[in-house]
Symmetry: C2
Subunit: 429 residues, 2 copies
């Protein structure tokens, strides 16, 4: 049986999972492909480190150039992460005629377009299923099975750490800081949790998904990202009372004429029957709304060694099939349109706002009056006494622009009877 | 831009949706493919019938052979349904060098293997995403994105009609017959509902999914199929009290050494937190359990003109991409193994049984004794008085063989104090 040689950059969490799957399922994979996938070289930082996978030490090198320059290697799996030097390695590998498989979300979001164009010009494959939502098939289905659709919206829970934290906060009524510490102790959150809890990780992922769904480049720096640090147990409690769950959602929508896109990451109220509302713990899910297919959802483990390895090896298999049929580069970069990014402050949704005010006559009317001045119309309002003097007033608006809501909240926060605007959040439908 | 000519057999529900998508999204599809998909001929039964889609009458013919014989047509979309004459048409089209796209579950389940082999020998594409779960991508992801995995289990809710009926029965406490009549009035069930409510439709679909997941031919006549006619409102109520939902599930499992498969359709108790338990109404979902990826689930509309059309057009796009790159037949028939089918009576699961007995001392003990005689060990038992004389006893067993359960229930039904064995059902985990 023919052998197809694979080179690997990086033997961390994803690299180990990839190697383990290639070893354990080697025979099945060979049957499915019609060729054996053989790892010929693996570039690592430290040659003598303990590994989570058994690897022949003779395969290891600490010089990535050895992998990139090896003429026998037909597919390079880039599993280092980060923009540089990964981007540089990949570009050089494409120049040397290699097909590329990567799980690198940051590189894809920030510099994926040029790499895909280079691969397309060279008629080489460039796959990156592992960069979004771990092992859940989503990039492949968007490019292939769902390619008949105009996609109106992609909405996902694409960060397992924040979903774990929000789920725990919801189950235990605990505060963000406490749950974060516990998540760090269990290895579900990093020592520096910013990339997850401030929404950057999700920002990269939704930029990638939006660019595929809408066939347009999405400048990642124009994707608005807000994390979950400001979500309080009280917000979660209020949401539940109103029939919602709070989730960190990554949303990409395009307007009906397909001219403008809005791409954003933020915590949001989701109605309890929303398909994403019951996605709990470290699980991820991506909802795609297409004009023909309607709503379809993809659900599973969004991270981890074997799940992400499953996506990487799936891409290696796709590449190998193309190599065998001489059809590498079969699907090139799909960004053939140039759509405008809509600024976040003009994006309309429903909103939730929680206001702490004096429990006096006419306070509610005065706040409502300010909302009216800013064209913020109200869907529901619930006022509750907090103690003898104070009340908590929870508002849910109809669809309004963020700029109008924030304008109103600014004025409201200066009303004499208002103690504080405690929080606000988008409400998705 | 190059044109790729498509021929269509059948302009019913799926055909109309397919044509509509090809018309409305023509430009996007052309960009994504790099060629225009042009429908050249459509074979219909009645030339002058009213259609749900605007079609140039010059494209219509009532002679399928005209479509099959047209040398310009490179892809044939078979959207008639049923085994013959569809199978014969498809085989002749393959002989004439055409690529095939079909949404025909019955033909694929009963005669798909030979067709795929013929297409493979001719190096032509043969796609059938629309045959299972409408527009939900599942066959493509199983063959591609998830190809790195040994799949242990596929479990799906793949029939919208029965899921709608069970959901309504559950919400309204209504009886099967009443909900069926209402579903027929609303067009959610056919005048002859057998194919849906007796489980044959789901039987075809799980046979198709199992053959792909396990790389082995699955003889559809050996797939056990039991429908939902025997499910009563009382079963649904009891299930809820015990923390379960009743769903018509299609299950395919293989044993750890990959030698035997069990493939079956039946109503089952699903724990309320099971990913499939909250799939309600006409929605479908398929859960795939892989050794690397873990649990992934695909959810969406499992039927309908546009959703199924989305799958058909997705397949047309995949075929067109392969035509452009000279790589048709890129993935052939994946049934390279020959696995044994395990008979249903030896398949082990937990079971539920509901027994109506005299409310007398020692009745429970005597029933439990019979279960013990048949090696049926009990996880839980709940006894409730029905009236002065009678009691209802609900049993949930540990994992046992169906043959042992049924042997026990037969003896139990003849115990003097037992009035009737009212129902039994598998309990999935």
């Amino acid at each position: 049986m023919r052998e197809i040689k694979v080179g690997v950059l990086g033997l961390g969490v994803v690299g180990s999972g990839t190697l383990r799957i290639l070893q354990e399922n080697a025979d099945d994979i060979a049957h499915r492909v019609g060729a054996r996938l053989v790892v010929k070289k693996i570039a690592v930082q430290h040659l003598h480190k303990e590994r989570a996978v058994m690897v022949d030490p003779a395969l290891l090198t600490d010089n990535p150039q050895e992998v990139i320059d090896d003429p026998e290697i037909e597919i390079l799996a880039e599993l280092i992460g980060g923009v540089e030097p990964a981007h540089d390695y990949v570009l050089r590998a494409i120049e040397r005629g290699k097909n590329i498989v990567t799980a690198n979300k940051e590189m894809m979001a920030k510099a994926g377009h040029d790499l895909m164009e280079a691969a397309g010009d060279a008629r080489r494959d460039f796959f990156f299923e592992g960069s979004v939502a771990g092992g859940i098939p989503i990039i492949g289905p968007l490019k292939e099975s769902l390619a008949a659709n105009k996609v109106r919206e992609v909405m996902g829970i694409v960060n397992g750490t924040t979903n774990y934290i929000l789920t725990k906060m919801s189950q235990e009524g605990a505060a963000f800081d406490d749950v974060l510490r516990e998540a760090q102790a269990h290895g579900y959150a990093e020592a520096d949790p910013s990339s997850d809890v401030d929404g950057w990780d999700a920002q990269y992922k939704i930029a990638i998904l939006a660019s595929i769904a809408f066939n347009s480049r999405v400048p990642v720096e124009e994707v608005s990202a807000q994390g979950i640090r400001a979500v309080t147990p009280r917000d979660i409690e209020v949401a539940r009372e109103l029939g919602y769950r709070i989730k960190l959602v990554a949303v990409a929508q395009q307007d009906p004429n397909g001219e403008a896109m809005q791409v954003r990451v933020h915590p949001a109220f989701l109605p309890v029957h929303h398909p994403l509302a019951s996605v709990d713990g470290v699980f991820n899910a991506v909802l795609v709304r297409g004009d023909a297919v309607g709503d379809v959802m993809f659900y599973g483990r969004g991270a981890g060694s074997l799940p992400t390895g499953s996506a990487v090896v799936g891409d290696l298999i796709a590449t190998a099939r193309n190599i065998l049929r001489g059809s590498t580069g079969r699907i090139g970069c799909t960004c053939f349109e140039k759509k405008r990014m809509q600024p976040i402050d003009s994006v309309e949704t429903k909103f939730y706002a929680r206001i702490h005010a004096a429990d006096r006559p006419k306070v509610l009317a005065s706040i409502a009056g300010v909302f009216g001045d800013f064209n913020v119309s109200i869907e529901s309002v619930v006022q509750k006494a907090m103690n003898e003097d104070d009340a908590e007033i929870v508002w849910v608006t109809h669809r309004v622009r963020e700029a109008d809501l924030l304008g109103a909240l600014d004025v409201i926060s200066h009303l004499p009877a208002v103690r504080s605007v405690d929080n606000w959040m988008r409400v998705e439908e």
